[in-house]
Symmetry: C2
Subunit: 220 residues, 2 copies
DNA sequence: ATTTATTTTTCGATTAGGCTAAAAAAGTTA
DNA sequence: TAACTTTTTTAGCCTAATCGAAAAATAAAT
């Protein structure tokens, strides 16, 4: 089995995410933006990841993740999300506090640790942001999801995930009372600015701007 | 507050342990042996730790840990031992499986994580090997301990810790039925080879070689 | 007091990961 | 097609952490 350094794992995970699970090829600039490193550093890393054959690297034309790369990326994602569940469920972290810590914890190398953690958490299928947790073989049970913006008036659904996991966005959702699992109904959509009015759990009405609604994922 | 890299934290922790909490000065070779790195690498690291003023470094004459260094080392030790408790108590690791994983986990940088972990574990005072867990200010409630070899015939006590945390040693203790917390009584001591015969929990009699008895710590 | 042995440091390399500045390739516009 | 813009790569440099070989300092033995 190929061994990756923590930095290599992080880059590969970023490539996996940006490529939407390997569906699209990814540019140096996109990776640079996501990783907050300079394009020059990315080029260097791409050469190394290419040598390890976890990506296919054609200079100047972006990269594609290989099957081997996908597997490894999914293992890192699995660890990241399991740790996020642990932090929220067991250590009372709020969902906007977990990401940075999980970004460190995901690189701990111990098969047993992750197996046992998974078991200890009761084999969770989704992380605190509603993202699916790959199993130990990298299989993901993904659900069809739409953004809140895509729903029509009077459509109902359940809030199942968020596209943006930034602390600012998550705290905003907390403030307005939106949470993973909430039953929602679209009461109104404003054509003009793309904002929506939704009813949460048949109780509370909340307004969301286009930006917010576009980052909230629902299952119908 | 001074920021140390993971490697610097590990070296400082080693220096703290070898110096017995700062009581003795420590040689390059000793550190090299403990860290399993070459003396050349140690010299280089000592220069860096000296610059950060966590040790006092006089070339050719070994190092002494500073007060600041002690504080930082104790924080790393605290994290290491809390993670060990977590692995054993929550994830069903055995006491011989925790050390390597804890050596990685101890470098995760999050104040909140350690506070919450401590709370979640019920503020444990000792790790799975009987070693005391420093509090968040670095205070250690240490107990007077003797090795089993130092007890006289008919002396009684409680097995409270082990000097050697190697997997081989711990598995040997498991096999013979010795464990932290066991009540013991010395039944016989053999002058010739330094071995001892002890009664565990008034039930089981076990024989221990000098080497083993010298690594088992008891409170009388 | 020399000589010998041991310990420690220095020197020169290497690998991983980052940076800036400059060069080169690709893409776009005229 | 040529010129300009954007993207990407290369080149050179830096820090951290490691190593082996050689030099230097200290310690031990004659
Ligand atoms: Mn995350
Ligand atoms: Mn997440
Ligand atoms: Mn340990
Ligand atoms: Mn321990």
């Amino acid at each position: 089995m190929i061994q990756l350094t923590p930095a290599e794992e992080s880059y590969l995970k970023a490539i996996y995410h940006i490529s939407d699970g390997g569906k699209r090829s990814v540019s140096t600039n996109d990776i640079s933006f996501q990783m907050k490193t300079k394009p020059a550093s990315v080029s260097d890393m791409l050469r190394r990841l290419g040598e390890k054959e976890v990506i296919e690297y054609r200079k100047y034309y972006g990269v594609n993740i290989t099957e081997e790369g996908k597997k490894l990326a999914l293992q890192t994602i699995r660890k990241h999300r399991l740790w996020e569940v642990f932090l929220v469920e067991k250590l009372r972290f709020s969902w906007d506090e977990v990401h940075e810590v999980a970004d460190e914890l995901e690189h701990i190398k111990s098969k047993l640790l992750i197996q046992r953690l998974d078991e200890y958490l009761g084999f969770p299928k989704f992380d605190p942001h509603g993202d699916p947790i790959p199993d130990e073989y990298g299989d993901v049970r993904s659900r069809p999801r739409l953004t809140l913006s895509e729903l029509d008036i009077n459509a109902t659904g359940q809030l199942v995930a968020v596209k943006d996991s930034s602390a600012a966005f998550l705290r905003y959702l907390d403030k307005v009372g939106a949470y993973i699992g909430a039953r929602i109904k679209v009461l109104d959509k404003v054509e003009f600015d793309g904002s929506v009015e939704i009813l949460v759990d048949n109780k509370k009405t909340i307004f969301m701007s286009k930006d917010v609604a576009g980052n909230v994922l629902v299952m119908v």
